[in-house]
C-alpha cells in the first residue's frame, strides 16, 4: 500500500509541476502583452462582462447587458465572453475582472451598482490602466476613473410613461407596485409610475386609485414565491394592475397575473427593465403583461462596445440617460395597449423630452 501511495503522490506532484510550469509561462506572456499592447481598440479588442447576482438569462439586467455586448461583438467580429463570479463580495468581483483582464479582455461591462467598490479597487490598483470599465445603474461621480464610464438612467421617466399607459388603458380601477430591494433605481421606477398615474387622472379623465398598502418592497430580487404571495393579496383586495419592478420576485407577480387571466379575471402586470411581454406569455399567444417600463440597457452596452472599438470610449464620464436620448421608455410593440393609448403615451413622451413635463426623482408628496 505504501508503494501505491508513493506512486500516486509522485503522479500528483508531476501533474502539478507540469501545470505550474505552464502557468509561469502564461504569466510571463501576460506580463509582456500587458506592456506591449493587447488591442484596446479595433479588430483585436476582446469584450467581456461580469454578471451580477443572478444568472445570464435573468430576463433583466444581466441579460440586457449581455445582449448588447454580444450583438455589437458579433457585428464587429470581436471575441466576447462573460464571467459569473463565485459570489457578490468585492473580492469575487475584482477576481473576475482580473481574470478577464489577464486573458486579454480590455472592455468589461459590469451591470449593477454592486460593482462600485470593485471598480474603485481595480482603478486604484493601477494594474490595468488600459482597461475600459463600464458600470451600469451607478453614478460614480468623482470616483469615476479616467478609463471608466458609469451609466445611470432617469427611471422615473420610464415609470411615468408606464403609469400613463396603464391608467389610460384601464381608465378606472386600482393599481399596485411590488419592488425588489429598496434601491434608488427601483424607487425611482415606483415614484415615476405614481406620478404617471396621477398625471393621467388629472389630464386624461381616468379614475385610478393608489392605496399606499399596495405599494410594497419585497426585499428580494429572487423570491418567486414571495412575489406570488404579494400579488395574490393585492389582486384579492381589488388591484387590477401591478407594476412589478423586482427581478425574479417580479416574475412571481407575473405568474400570478397569468394564472388569474387564464381563469378569466381581468388583471394585468407591468414589467420592468426589459420588454417582459414574453415572460407573461400564457401559452395561448397572449400575455398578461400590459406594458413594460424599460431602460434600454442593451442599447447602452451596444453603443459603448462600438465606442471602444472606434477608439472613442468616453472614459471618465458619468452618463445619465433619459427619454431625451431615447434610452428608456415603454416597448414600441404593445399588443395589449390600444392604439389610442400608444398615441397618448407618445405625446407624453414628447412632452418629457421637451421639458414640458418634469418627473421628480424623489418621494416628495408620493407614496415612498
Amino acid at each position: 500500500m505504501k508503494k501505491t501511495l508513493a506512486l500516486l503522490l509522485i503522479a500528483l506532484i508531476a501533474m502539478t509541476s507540469v501545470f505550474a510550469n505552464g502557468a509561469s509561462e502564461t504569466s510571463a506572456a501576460a506580463g509582456t502583452t500587458a506592456t506591449s499592447g493587447v488591442a484596446t481598440t479595433g479588430d483585436g479588442l476582446m469584450v467581456g462582462m461580469v454578471t451580477d447576482s443572478g444568472t445570464i438569462d435573468d430576463r433583466s439586467f444581466n441579460q440586457g447587458t449581455w445582449e448588447g455586448v454580444n450583438r455589437a461583438a458579433q457585428e464587429l467580429g470581436l471575441t466576447a465572453t462573460y464571467l459569473r463570479p463565485n459570489g457578490t463580495t468585492t473580492g469575487d468581483y475584482t477576481t473576475a475582472i482580473y481574470d478577464l483582464y489577464d486573458q486579454g479582455y480590455r472592455f468589461i461591462a459590469c451591470p449593477g451598482y454592486l460593482f462600485e467598490d470593485a471598480i474603485k479597487e481595480v482603478q486604484a490598483s493601477g494594474d490595468c490602466d488600459d482597461l475600459m470599465l463600464v458600470i451600469f445603474d451607478s453614478n460614480l461621480g468623482e470616483n469615476c476613473g479616467p478609463n471608466t464610464v458609469s451609466v445611470s438612467w432617469k427611471e422615473q421617466e420610464s415609470g411615468f410613461l408606464a403609469g400613463v399607459a396603464t391608467a389610460v388603458d384601464i381608465v378606472e380601477g386600482s393599481v399596485g407596485f411590488v419592488g425588489g430591494i429598496e434601491i434608488p433605481a427601483v424607487q425611482k421606477f415606483n415614484w415615476g409610475f405614481q406620478q404617471g398615474v396621477a398625471y393621467a387622472n388629472a389630464n386624461y379623465g381616468t379614475a385610478i386609485e393608489m392605496d399606499p398598502n399596495n405599494f410594497v418592497y419585497s426585499g428580494s430580487f429572487a423570491d418567486l414565491a414571495l412575489g406570488g404571495q404579494l400579488a395574490t393579496a393585492m389582486y384579492d383586495s381589488g388591484v387590477d394592475v401591478i407594476f412589478a419592478a423586482a427581478g425574479g420576485t417580479g416574475v412571481g407577480v407575473i405568474n400570478e397575473a397569468k394564472s388569474r387571466r387564464l381563469a378569466g379575471q381581468d388583471v394585468w402586470a407591468v414589467g420592468v427593465d426589459v420588454d417582459q411581454y414574453s415572460v407573461g406569455d400564457m401559452g395561448n399567444g397572449e400575455s398578461c403583461i400590459l406594458t413594460s417600463a424599460m431602460k434600454y440597457i442593451d442599447k447602452a452596452a451596444y453603443d459603448l462596445v462600438y465606442a471602444a472599438y472606434n477608439g472613442t470610449f468616453p472614459g471618465g464620464t458619468n452618463m445619465l440617460l433619459g427619454a431625451d436620448t431615447e434610452d428608456l421608455g415603454i416597448p414600441t410593440e404593445n399588443p395589449n395597449l390600444s392604439d389610442a393609448t400608444m398615441e397618448i403615451v407618445a405625446q407624453v413622451e414628447q412632452m418629457i423630452i421637451n421639458g414640458e413635463i418634469s418627473v421628480q426623482d424623489n418621494a416628495e408628496g408620493l407614496i415612498p
Binding site: 500500500m1 501505491t4 501511495l5 500516486l8 503522490l9 503522479a11 500528483l12 501533474m15 502539478t16 507540469v18 501545470f19 505550474a20 505552464g22 502557468a23 509561469s24 502564461t26 504569466s27 467581456g48 454578471t51 447576482s53 445570464i56 471575441t79 465572453t81 462573460y82 464571467l83 459569473r84 463570479p85 463565485n86 459570489g87 457578490t88 463580495t89 468585492t90 473580492g91 477576481t95 473576475a96 482580473y98 481574470d99 478577464l100 489577464d102 486573458q103 479582455y105 451598482y113 454592486l114 467598490d117 479597487e121 490598483s125 494594474d127 430591494i181 429598496e182 434601491i183 426585499g219 428580494s220 429572487a222
Partner: protein, 376 residues
C-alpha cells in the same frame, strides 16, 4: 515474524483514499473537457494560473480557503459525533453579523483586544446557533438537518432586518455599510507578502483551529466520547456516556467554528454583509469535510484544493472560451467526484482484499509444501 506480517490484511489509508478521489475528480473534469473538445492540460493550466500565478492570487486563494477550512472543520467535527451540520451558512451569518456589529460600534478598542473580541463573539453567536440544533436533537430528537436548514433561514432573515436597523449604508439598502479597514481582520503583516489580496488573520486562526480540533478529537476524553457517540450512539449510552450532552457539545463547537468562519468571511475576505444572501461556503464545507475524511489535517488540505479550484474558475471561463456555466460544471464535477471518497475506500479495500487472498493462497501452497518452515 515476516510471514505473519504478510498475512495481515491491508485497509485503505485515508490519505490514499482522498488522493484517489482527487485524481479521479481531475480525470473526470478532463474527460468532460475532452468531450467539449477542449485541451484538458490547457484548462488545468488556466485554473492554476487563476489561483496561484502571482502573490495577489495566492493571497486570495488562501483567503478563500480560510472559510472552507473552518466550515470543513465544523462539518467534520459534527460528523465525528454522527451529526450532519448543514447549518454552516446560518452559523456563518450570525457569527459575521455579530462581528460586524463590533466593527461598527466597537471603534476605539485596542486592536489586539478588539480582534479577540470579534472572533470570540462570532464563535459564541455561531455556537449558539449550533447549540439550538444540538439541543433540539438531544431533547426532542428533531433531526439536525431539519433544524439546521430552518436556522439558516432564521439567521438570514434576522440579518435582513439587523442590517437596516444597525449597519445601514445610506446609499445602498441591500447591504451593510462597509467595515472600516482598521476594523477588519486584514493586516499589513500578511498583506505585505500578498499585495492587494484579501488575505487576513483568518488563515492563522484557521490553522490554529486545525490543531485545536485535532487535539480535542484525539487527545481528550471529550473527543473520545464524541467519537464513541458517532460510532454507535446506543453502545456509547450503554457504556455510560451521556449522549445528549455530547450531541449538544458537538453541535455547539461545530457552530462556533462556522461562526468564526463567518467572522473571517464578513470582516476579512469581504467587508460587508448582503441582505438576503446565503453564503455558499456552508455547503461547500460538507464536500471539504468529506474529501478530507473528516480528519482536521485532511480538511486543511482539502480546503486548499477546493480554494484553488474556486479561485481558478474565472480564469478557466475567461481563457478557455467556454461559457462560465460549463466552467462551473467542470469545477463541480471535480469537487463532487472528490467528495465521493467513500466509494474509493471500498474500491481500495476490495483491491487489497483481493491481494490478501492471493497472498494467503500462495502461502497456503507454500505451507503445504514439504520444505516449508512455517510450522516452525
Amino acid at each position: 515474524m515476516a510471514k505473519e506480517r504478510l498475512l495481515k490484511e491491508h485497509k485503505a489509508g485515508s490519505l490514499l483514499v482522498s488522493l484517489t478521489a482527487v485524481v479521479a475528480g481531475i480525470l473526470a473534469g478532463c474527460i468532460l473537457l475532452l468531450v467539449l473538445g477542449r485541451n484538458p492540460m490547457e484548462a488545468m493550466r488556466l485554473i492554476i494560473h487563476g489561483s496561484v500565478s502571482d502573490p495577489r492570487r495566492i493571497g486570495n486563494t488562501i483567503a478563500v480557503a480560510t472559510q472552507l477550512i473552518l466550515i470543513g472543520l465544523s462539518v467534520a467535527f459534527g460528523y465525528k459525533a454522527g451529526l450532519i451540520n448543514i447549518g454552516g451558512s446560518g452559523q456563518m451569518l450570525v457569527g459575521g453579523c455579530v462581528a460586524s456589529l463590533w466593527a461598527y460600534y466597537g471603534q476605539g478598542i485596542p486592536r489586539p483586544l478588539y480582534l479577540v473580541i470579534i472572533v470570540v463573539s462570532g464563535a459564541i453567536a455561531g455556537g449558539l446557533w449550533g447549540f439550538i440544533s444540538g439541543f433540539l436533537k438531544a431533547k426532542f430528537n428533531v433531526h439536525e438537518v431539519v433544524s439546521c436548514i430552518m436556522l439558516n433561514w432564521t439567521a438570514l432573515w434576522i440579518i435582513y432586518e439587523t442590517i437596516p436597523a444597525f449597519m445601514v449604508d445610506p446609499s445602498v439598502a441591500s447591504r451593510s455599510a462597509s467595515v472600516p479597514a482598521a476594523q477588519s481582520l486584514r493586516t499589513p503583516l500578511l498583506s505585505q507578502f500578498f499585495p492587494r489580496s484579501y488575505i487576513n488573520w483568518g488563515i492563522i486562526i484557521a490553522i490554529a483551529m486545525v490543531f485545536v480540533i485535532a487535539f480535542i478529537l484525539n487527545k481528550t476524553t471529550l473527543g473520545y466520547q464524541l467519537k464513541a457517540v458517532g460510532a454507535n450512539r446506543f453502545c456509547a449510552e450503554y457504556a455510560g456516556i451521556k449522549v445528549s450532552r455530547n450531541i449538544i457539545i458537538s453541535m455547539t463547537i461545530a457552530g462556533a467554528l462556522s461562526g468564526i468562519a463567518g467572522v473571517t468571511y464578513y470582516c476579512g475576505y469581504s467587508n460587508m454583509i448582503y441582505r438576503n444572501q446565503m453564503p455558499n461556503e456552508g455547503f461547500d464545507g460538507i464536500a471539504v469535510a468529506l474529501l478530507g475524511n473528516c480528519n482536521p489535517v485532511g480538511v486543511f488540505f482539502a480546503a486548499l484544493f477546493f480554494a484553488i479550484l474556486k479561485a481558478g474558475k474565472g480564469s478557466l471561463g475567461a481563457g478557455a472560451g467556454i461559457p462560465p456555466e460549463i466552467a462551473d460544471t467542470i469545477i463541480a464535477v471535480i469537487i463532487y467526484f472528490s467528495a465521493t471518497s467513500v466509494l474509493f475506500r471500498r474500491l481500495w479495500d476490495r483491491l487489497f482484499h483481493g491481494m490478501y487472498e492471493k497472498k494467503l493462497g500462495k502461502m497456503n501452497i507454500k505451507a503445504a509444501g514439504p520444505s516449508s518452515d512455517v510450522e516452525r
